[in-house]
Every structure is written in structure tokens, then in C-alpha cells.
Subunit: 120 residues, 2 copies
DNA sequence: CGATCAGTTAGCCAGACGACTAACTGAAAT
DNA sequence: ATTTCAGTTAGTCGTCTGGCTAACTGATCG
């Protein structure tokens, strides 16, 4: 559990920046060149290049060079793996909340049956 | 500018550190005091305190002070909201991949019918 | 009361991050 | 062959991050 998970580190870090999330969102519509992907942002090109590199190194996107432009596209498996981890955490956690609910309901029933002193 | 980070920024950032993910994982088993949560790590207490604060500020966990100890617990809604965003991205994206698949299958069928040359 | 123990504050440090400008590379267009 | 244009490299700058130690606070135990 305390296992070293560099992929997750990089992926979550990649997702922690709004510019990078916006780039991902744009790529959800399909492949695009660096300049297409980058056009909406009021930022210097080298800055955006870095963002794209971060996304690429995190494995969330792939890119390839075609002529003088670079085409960017999402990488399905990587994004899915990130979600899997989160889903797993959530499942465990909701199971715990369900247990808690069950316990509270049980308490309530016992209280009704006994019709004794009530607490807030 | 780096000052006001929307929830997603803070949440993904919080998730990008393995120590913090381990703390979250531990809290999936139920509430625990700071020292319980913190015991498995060979790290100075102030360092771990910072991690807990990052998690708390991200909204992923809540804490309360009881006597001289601090109790930590997960916050369900926050973790869910993060997953929702990711799920949405993935859904859009998989829809796109499905379209692509359909297109590839279509190509394949046409190819079989035509019995023509294709690429690898 | 005094000691202890859980958590906290303050301050330090090296390295990563996110932004910038200026200058370079190399494919495409004229 | 030149120019243009997409992308790239290199270097700078201020802030944030994640780690540390040392010293403090304040609840609990003897």
C-alpha cells in the first residue's frame, strides 16, 4: 500500500493543473496539432510545450511529429488506470459508509422497539 | 495567481503524493488519530502534519481535535466529485474510441469484401 | 505539581514548478 | 534560395513543495 507508484504520482500531478486539464478536454474531441491544442491559451509557447510534455511523460497523451507539426492524442489505458485506482478507493470507502449506515439504522430500530430514553 | 486554486487543482495535487495516497488508503479503513495514521511512515511529524493539512485543505479529508489528539476521516463527497470529473472525461473519450473502432471495423469489412491491399 | 506525550509552530533548505524572453532548427511556402 | 512558420532549446525568475530540526503548547498521567 505504501508501494512506490511513480505513474500515479505523475498522472495526478499532470491532472492538477487547469491548463493541462483543458488540453486533455480538448483532446477528448480528437487528435490535434500542438498549435491547435494550444491556440486558446494566452501563454508563451514554451510554457505550453512544457505542459504537453508533462502530459506526455505522465502517459496521459501520446504525440508524434508529422512534418513540422506535432500531433497530440489521448492515451485511453492510462486515464483508465488512474480512474481505476480512484474507483477502488471509493468503493472501499462507500462500503465503510454503508456499514455505518446499517449500524445507525440498527440503532434507530432498537430505539423504537425499546421506546425508552432518547438521545439527540 | 498561484493563490486561489480551485478544488480540482488542490485535489489532484493532494493525490499526486504517495504518502498522501497511503494516508487516504489507511483512512479507507476508518477514522484514526494523527499518530495512528502517521505511524507507518519514517518521516518527521511536522512533515506528516503538512501532508495531513494538504489533504484537509483539498477537502479530501476532515479532522477534529479531541483532547490532545486529532482525529482524521475521509470526506466522501469530495472524493466522489473528483472521480465524477474523471469519469466524464473518460466517457467522452471512450465514446470517441468506440467511433474509431466502428470505423476500423467498417474498414476491415470493406477490405474483406473488396479483398484489396491494406496497411499493417 | 511536574513529567510526559500528541500535536503544533517556526524556520531552514534543495529542488521542482510554472511562467517568461530570446534565440535556434528545420519543414513548407513563395 | 529566402522567407515563413511550427515547434524547440536554453536560460532566468519567483514561488511552491517536501523534507528536516528545534523549540513550543497544552492535555493527560503519576
Amino acid at each position: 500500500m505504501t508501494k512506490f507508484q511513480p505513474d500515479l504520482d505523475r498522472r495526478f500531478h499532470a491532472l492538477s493543473d487547469p491548463t493541462r486539464r483543458a488540453i486533455l478536454a480538448r483532446l477528448c474531441l480528437g487528435e490535434a496539432s500542438f498549435s491547435d491544442v494550444t491556440a486558446p491559451f494566452a501563454m508563451a509557447k514554451p510554457t505550453l510545450l512544457k505542459h504537453v510534455r508533462v502530459l506526455e511523460e505522465s502517459g496521459l497523451i501520446r504525440t508524434r511529429k508529422t512534418g513540422r507539426s506535432r500531433i497530440c492524442a489521448l492515451d485511453a489505458e492510462a486515464l483508465k488506470a488512474t480512474e481505476d485506482w480512484l474507483s477502488r478507493q471509493i468503493r472501499q470507502w462507500e462500503a465503510r459508509l454503508d456499514q455505518l449506515d446499517a449500524y445507525v439504522i440498527q440503532l434507530y430500530k432498537e430505539e423504537r422497539t425499546a421506546n425508552d430514553d432518547g438521545q439527540s
